[in-house]
């Protein structure tokens, strides 16, 4: 469940945490678009390294590393599938460029995980909800979204307890072939889903008894306001996108394999 740890917000004060969530989200989407734009390894590598100062500035390196470790399995999977498909489709032939391309695809995934992880690690669910509200998203949806985000770690913890409970009844999750292994998770998933539904019903009742939806216009304790740092990040984001588009269309990107 370590991949969820990388999405769990912890209250820390840092310049990154104080940034406006809307701008941060624009930045993440910017990185997302740029990562999709390139399929060569060098720009993706640059993109990957570019995030590191943000992580260090936000002082979330440990959680960030944990989320990367959580993504390692999927990343390996992507790499293997990419290598395997090129190997089999090109008539059992593999070049350094093929491997490099597979690496690039993997890196693209890692960049996506990395940037989303930075966003969620440094943005409190409250700010997130506020940002959605300010962006004219109906409050019901904004609330549903922030609640979902907030409950991810709770569900992860619950999944662990359920696995323990079933293991204590002799369930061996890692036993059997692939199909059997997938079937092994039924006793974990059903209680997890049932308890999530039950929890949501309880939450709905609790919310209603605290006057949820009593007035059309809600007031907020905090208001979002753009500061200097936000404009700076907006500038950086725009710069990255413009540079990326320019490079994409006008610059020839070498492969690493070319250098050898």
């Amino acid at each position: 469940m370590s991949i969820f740890d990388g999405l769990r917000f912890r209250k820390v004060y840092s310049p990154i945490h104080n940034l406006d969530p809307r701008i941060k989200f624009a930045y993440v989407i910017g990185i997302f678009v740029v990562a999709i734009l390139f399929y060569q390894i060098i720009p993706l590598l640059i993109l990957f390294l570019m995030q590191i100062p943000f992580v260090l500035l936000a002082r979330v390196q440990r959680q960030w590393l944990r989320s990367l470790r959580g993504a390692a399995f999927l990343a390996t999977f992507i790499f293997v599938v990419n290598v395997a498909t090129t190997y089999f489709t090109s008539g059992y032939h593999l070049t350094a460029v093929n491997v490099e391309n597979a690496g690039a695809m993997t890196l693209r995934f890692v960049v996506l995980v990395e940037s989303f992880s930075v966003f969620f690690l440094t943005t409190s669910p409250d700010h997130l909800g506020l940002a959605l509200e300010e962006s004219r998203v109906p409050y019901e949806f904004a609330f549903a979204f922030t609640t979902a985000v907030r409950f991810v770690p709770v569900l992860a913890e619950e999944a662990q307890t359920i696995m323990d409970a079933q293991k204590a009844r002799g369930l061996e999750l890692e036993k059997g072939g692939l199909l059997k292994r997938i079937r092994n998770y039924v006793p974990v998933l059903i209680p997890l889903i049932v308890s999530a539904i039950r929890r949501s019903l309880e939450l709905a009742e609790a919310m209603e008894s605290r006057a949820w939806g009593a007035t059309k216009k809600r007031t907020n304790l905090y208001a979002l306001k753009l500061h200097r740092g936000d404009f700076a990040l907006l500038g950086i984001t725009a710069g990255i996108i413009v540079a990326a588009i320019y490079i994409h269309f006008f610059v020839h990107i070498p492969t690493i394999a070319q250098f050898f």
């Binding site: 204590a168 369930l171 061996e172």
Partner: protein, 273 residues
């Protein structure tokens, strides 16, 4: 027999939940592990069937080190009933729910059938045999969870907060059931906050605080010691409270049993007459 030797355990978030615990639980013993929230009670009992492995020290279950065995193998002898039944119920019927573990342990269909009937009967669930466990009340679901573990007749039973959500009648049944297990020389380990329940059962009490054992002894001795209980944020059982207040009048302090209390009061009355 369960032997924990100076075990320490830290969670991923570096919180040290157990700070050097040594305890031996002999076959046939009834032990109540008590202490405030976060004292490490659940963490400790999860070591007894290998769900958690100690960071330092060792846990031996019948001489087998838990690090060298799987949870499934250890569970055959150590049944663990979780606090929240909703964390394990998933089958379409109560019957299938109880059969789940039996299938995992590889019992034959005839034995499974027999054991399921036995367990249903034991916890007065026979009428719900074909009902979906999700349609039952909280207390009933808890009993299904208990039945699903008892069905394979483990030598040791670990109960995490068994009295939560149970009415008085069910608690009494649970107590009688534990006594019955005792006559069969089974080990019962329970984690609980329910002082009154413990007082009625009078087991060996292990008091925990901040990942350490602060007291270990007879229930009667520990549950009547206000200073010791205060240390773990536990209040005295009501009878002990009364006798503590009466102590200046020459009453004994160490009373937790209703029948004993009655005898003492009657005797005093006789003397007064």
């Amino acid at each position: 027999m369960i032997e924990a030797k100076d075990i320490r355990y830290s969670y991923v978030n570096k919180v040290e939940a157990l700070k050097g615990i040594s305890i031996t639980i002999n076959d046939g013993e009834f032990v109540a592990i008590m202490g405030q929230n976060g004292a490490g009670k659940s963490t400790l009992v999860k070591h007894f069937n290998g769900l958690l492995k100690p960071s330092k020290g060792s846990v031996l279950v019948d001489g087998v080190e838990t690090t060298k065995s799987s949870v499934a193998a250890l569970s055959r002898n150590v049944g663990f009933v979780f606090q929240n039944p909703d964390h394990q119920l998933f089958s379409e019927t109560v019957e299938e729910e109880i059969a789940f573990a039996l299938k995992n342990f590889g019992f034959t269909p005839e034995v499974i059938e027999k054991r399921v009937t036995w367990a249903l009967n034991l916890l007065s669930l026979t009428q719900y045999r074909k009902t979906s466990p999700f349609l039952l009340s909280g207390g009933e679901r808890k009993r299904v969870a208990l039945a699903s573990v008892l069905a394979w007749d483990p030598k040791t039973l670990v109960l995490d907060e068994p009295t939560i959500g149970q009415d008085h009648e069910q608690k009494e049944k649970l107590r009688q059931f534990i006594m019955q297990m005792q006559t069969q020389k089974k080990t019962v380990i329970t984690v609980t906050h329910d002082v009154e329940f413990v007082a009625e059962c009078n087991p060996r009490v292990v008091l925990m605080k901040d990942g350490k054992i602060v007291a270990d002894g007879e229930g009667k001795e520990i549950l009547t010691n206000p200073t010791m209980l205060e240390l773990s944020s536990i209040v005295l059982p009501q009878i002990a409270q009364v006798f503590n207040k009466l102590a200046p009048l020459g009453f004994p302090k160490d009373v937790i049993d209703i029948y004993e209390a009655k005898q003492i009061i009657l005797k005093t009355k006789e003397k007064a007459l």
